[in-house]
Amino acid sequence: MTRFLAQTEAAARPAPDRRRGLRQILAEDFFYAPGATVWTLVLVVLLGLAAWTLFDWAVLNAVFGPTGTLDASQACRAEGAEGACWAVIGDKVRLILFGLYPFDLQWRPGLACLLMIALYALSVQKALWRPALGVIWALVLAAVLVLMRGGVAGLAPVGDDQWGGLPVTLILSTFGLGLAFPVAIALALARQQRRFPMLQAASVGLIEFARAVPLVVVLFMASVMMPLFLPESWQVSKLLRVLIAFTLFGAAYLAEVIRGGLQAIPSGQYEAASALSLTYAQTMRDVILPQALRIVIPGIVNVFIGFFKATAIVVVVGIFDLMTAAKRAVADPLWQGFGIEVYLFAGLIYFVFCFSLSRFSARLERDLARDRS
């Protein structure tokens, strides 16, 4: 048996120092063996080349505007203009950001976007997670609607078929998911409970339908078929129809995420609530949902990010969201052929929003892990 046992006592090692210097990191992680050294060098060279090529294209050789006697478009097409043509963004930025919205009134959608961004910034502060936040949401969204639609307080009315660009993307995701969230909770609770089988069946039916049918089909039905079945006086605007479709879809996906959270709550919690003779509503509101929602925050954020990007699908029904407006910018013969620049610009906007959301989710997970430990 002795061969399985250490004969001597191992010397105690110091706890690993987590704060390593740059030199140590390089030595221990990148150059710890001849093979690693070779790979590190090869990859550094490749990445360096790629970065240099990109820099050369995007900055050194780029055309930012008119040069000499050439106007901006000619400058981009001139012999030897090998770099990016950022002049197209300069010319089309307002079209990409605001679409068909009347040019002189574009401060309104601009302000609406800032309001919604501020709303996100507020909503991710854990300290502010209290009922008042719901009121803030309602107020800000109302302000956004007033700014966009006008017709009150001396603001000229602007129909929602003239809205476009970034505000439409933000409105579809914010309103869509803002409305979907309460619906999703209701759907998840309805599916979870056993007391009213019909309610449960309705919830299951709705969720499974939304998950089984492609969003693009529903959007198409909503915009091409639905108006044919409605009486002529029932004009529902295109944007509103799309928003309803988005809300239903968002609600179905969110409901499943939330149901996952409900299932993760140990039955002891329900039993403890019963023992305190809390009603169903009290149990859910004060005991179960706060815990369940906390658990599924990463999942919720994931759905949010997915839907934020999915808004670009509205191009199939002729709504000028950010991506559609970007495409329109390069339909102009002046700028045909500079799609890469315009797509990069639009991509950057999507990236900023989605990456912030994902960072927020990561921070939240860390915070919550700390709460639990």
């Binding site: 012999e79 079209l95 068909l100 000028f320 495409k327 052929g337």
Partner: protein, 344 residues
């Protein structure tokens, strides 16, 4: 016929003057729900594609530009006296007819080809053709091809959808083989063509000329082949069942063609006085009842020309800088298809 002519002469003699006087009143009683709705709303809801250069595409300021956009403006100028009183409803091709049928829009100018089945089956009616288009071919000059009949075995770039069918019909009927290379987006397609992924770029003439214009000095390296293999009369459409509104949309276009034919432009429209020819006087509403017959103000045609311009000016504004040939869209007197139907 002689018998009928006799009766007609008698009736005309009896009612001559009264008919002239009551013509306006009689037509004004003709109810047009669309016209009433447009007046009540104060704007014309116009369906456009909104993504296609030369027809309807927002410029850098978000203002809709193009032939289709201006045809809508002409209707607004005629009806409301304000060319900018248009509400744009961007539509993808599949939504176009639905939007018209359901009353979401008053008039559709969305590069819609006038076809028989659209008129017989869809409850819509083509009022006027504001652009005669057709599928054409663009090839690199270096390919050394002078006619589409030499394209056997070519890789053909085109947009998914109706373009595919046109290509297949043509190549099959010519007994030629081809490889379709399909794209969903014009931008991708054009990049692929420039990169040499296909030998031929096959799409509407109007798109070919704007693409060629975008190439600057390189335009000379590409040739538009002479063949135009499909007829695409792009037309404005209205719902069936509102004849007065149909007339308004139709004659808003015809007025633009007539203005060009008469030499009336946006600039000189106000310079015509009492000494002008009867045709011009009638056109500008100084004589006759053309406007009343449509239930409009007598200055309707004047407003169209003053605010939107005549047909030639409109074409020049949107396609002039491409250096393209006006082709079938010239006036009839110049050998084109835009015919100035008499306005009298």
């Amino acid at each position: 016929m002689p018998l009928k002519t006799g009766t007609f002469t008698l009736a005309a003699a009896l009612t001559g003057a009264t008919a002239m006087l009551s013509a306006g009143a009689a037509t004004a009683q003709q109810a047009s729900p669309t016209l009433d709705a447009v007046r009540a709303r104060g704007e014309v809801a116009c369906g456009v594609i909104g993504s296609s250069f030369g027809f309807s595409l927002p410029d850098s300021q978000g203002v809709m530009q193009g032939m289709d956009a201006d045809s809508c403006r002409a209707v607004a100028a005629a009806v409301l006296g304000d060319a900018n009183a248009v509400r744009w409803v961007p539509l993808v091709p599949a939504q176009r007819l639905t939007a018209l049928q359901t009353g979401e829009i008053d008039v559709l100018y969305a590069q819609l080809t006038w076809t028989m089945s659209r008129e017989t089956d869809s409850g819509v009616q083509m009022a006027s053709t504001n652009y005669f288009d057709g599928t054409g071919f663009l090839v690199p000059t270096s390919l050394g091809v002078a006619s589409a009949t030499e394209l056997d075995g070519a890789n053909v770039c085109s947009i998914q959808g109706p373009g595919e069918v046109t290509a297949r019909d043509y190549f099959t009927s010519q007994g030629m083989s081809f490889t379709p290379v399909l794209f969903a987006e014009g931008e991708e397609l054009r990049a692929a063509f420039l990169a040499g992924r296909c030998d031929v770029y096959m799409i509407d003439q109007s798109a070919l000329i704007s693409f060629r214009a975008s190439l600057g000095d390189n335009a000379a390296n590409y040739t538009v082949l002479p063949e135009i293999i499909s007829a695409e009369p792009l037309s404005g459409a209205v719902r069936k069942g509102d004849p007065l509104w149909f007339d308004i949309v139709r004659y808003a276009h015809i007025a633009q063609v007539n203005a060009e034919n008469l030499g009336i432009t946006a600039e000189n429209v106000d310079s015509f006085g009492a000494e002008s020819s009867p045709a011009i006087r009638r056109f500008l509403g100084m004589d006759g009842t053309l406007g009343q017959a449509l239930g409009l103000q007598s200055s309707w045609a004047h407003d169209i020309v003053a605010q939107v311009g005549n047909y030639g000016e409109m074409w020049q504004r949107h396609f002039g800088r491409t250096g393209a040939d006006r082709g079938a869209n010239r006036l009839a007197r110049d050998g084109g298809l835009q015919y100035p139907y008499p306005m009298r």
